[in-house]
Amino acid sequence: MSAVRAIDISVGMFILLGLVSALFLVVQTIDPSQVNAGETYVVEARFDHIGDLKIRAPVALAGVTIGRVAEITADPADYRAVVLLRIDSSFDNLPIDTDATIATAGLLGGKYVELTPGGDSEMLADQGEITFTQSAILLENLIGKYMLNSSPE
């Protein structure tokens, strides 16, 4: 009887583990850095074009990751992309005229948001807005412009 039970238990464990793994593969969104994140605050930035910026892309200050992109939506009122940036609270001294640029990691890497602090004495607050933004540089547009400009004179 107990041998039969042991078999049942290990078969049950095996199937359970398999189903959990399948669930993990299907969801594939579990982000451990999101679960145990420290204190953060959220600021908003509006861009004309975000390229292929993705949710949870890094937000960097001088190249160091200090936050994540929390949400990306489009505003039907002004036709721009609204990007919510979740930033570590130890960097709560960013001036209000901080500039947000969508940059590319390497030539082919993913997009991220690079913050360049301005010189204002007033600081960005929680739910504040970054007014100076630069859209993603679309490589294909650049190539197009370059090809047009370099046509024979």
């Binding site: 078969v11 199937i15 189903l19 890497g109 993913g110």
Partner: protein, 260 residues
């Protein structure tokens, strides 16, 4: 010269006979499969032997394949400064290709050979003949539960293998090689597609599970009833299943490749 040609022709004939016999065996088994579900206890026992006992091997295999993939892809990706794509690269490879194929190869080695030698020993010690005498259909009692257990456990083992692989790549990538943690997961999330990748890997693993367990049972069921015959059946199972799975994988990948 003529003798060589005749030998070749004979061994080809033997191969064709074996192959045809395998097809007949598979078709003959079909009506037994639904009936086998009425005896869940037999299937549970086989699930234990085939699935639960293969668990440790599969998990180790997945973990280290993922870790190696992370190391290996890093050296190429770093040249294009796109190591952020490592997560997507590793999990696409694991979920689509390596997961089903390597799991099936491990399955053939671990469970397939065990099934073949067990059933072969039953044949060698006349247990199968004894069952027939007692009007117990060995196809029902021995073959069908083993095949069903293979079909059920292979997708589960594959999912475990792939998950362990992604976890291994995560450990090596983010802890040792400095890949950004958020980029690792967000690239996986963005690039790995539910239907194209996960579902096609799942389909593959079911087909591989069915073929691997069918071949193992077939080899054991029709082995020569001698000690050498049993050991030959176990060896042949591993060899034939491995070749067949690699060949089948090429066909299935071609069929399920995303249209670009």
């Amino acid at each position: 010269m003529i003798a060589t040609v005749r030998d070749c022709w004979q061994s080809f004939g033997q191969f064709a006979a074996n192959f045809g016999g395998f097809q007949m065996f598979s078709f003959r088994l079909l009506p037994y499969l639904p009936k086998a579900l009425l005896r869940p206890r037999l299937i549970t026992e086989q699930l234990y032997a085939v699935g639960a006992l293969s668990l440790v091997l599969t998990m180790f295999g997945g973990l280290f394949v993922g870790m190696v993939l992370a190391l290996q892809s890093h050296s190429t990706l770093v040249e294009f400064s796109s190591i952020d794509s490592m997560g997507a690269f590793v999990s696409e490879t694991m979920v689509r290709e390596l997961g089903p194929v390597v799991t099936a190869l491990l399955f053939a080695g671990r469970a397939g050979s065990a099934i073949a030698s067990e059933v072969g020993l039953m044949r060698a010690t006349n247990q199968i003949a004894a069952m027939e005498l007692m009007a117990v259909d060995p196809m029902q009692r021995i073959v069908a539960p083993r095949v069903l257990a293979g079909v059920i456990s292979m997708p589960l083992l594959t999912a475990i293998f792939s998950m362990m692989g992604i976890f291994g790549a995560y450990l090596v990538g983010t802890r040792l090689l400095g890949v950004d943690e958020g980029a690792f997961w967000s690239q996986i999330n963005a690039r790995v597609d539910m239907h194209q990748d996960v579902a096609s890997g799942f389909l593959k693993s079911i087909i591989f599970g069915a073929s691997a367990s069918l071949m193992a049972v077939f080899e054991g069921y029709y082995c020569q009833p001698t000690p050498a015959g049993v050991s030959r059946a176990a060896t042949r199972t591993v060899v034939i299943t491995s070749v067949w799975i690699l060949l089948l994988d090429f066909i299935l990948t071609g069929l399920t490749l995303p249209k670009v």
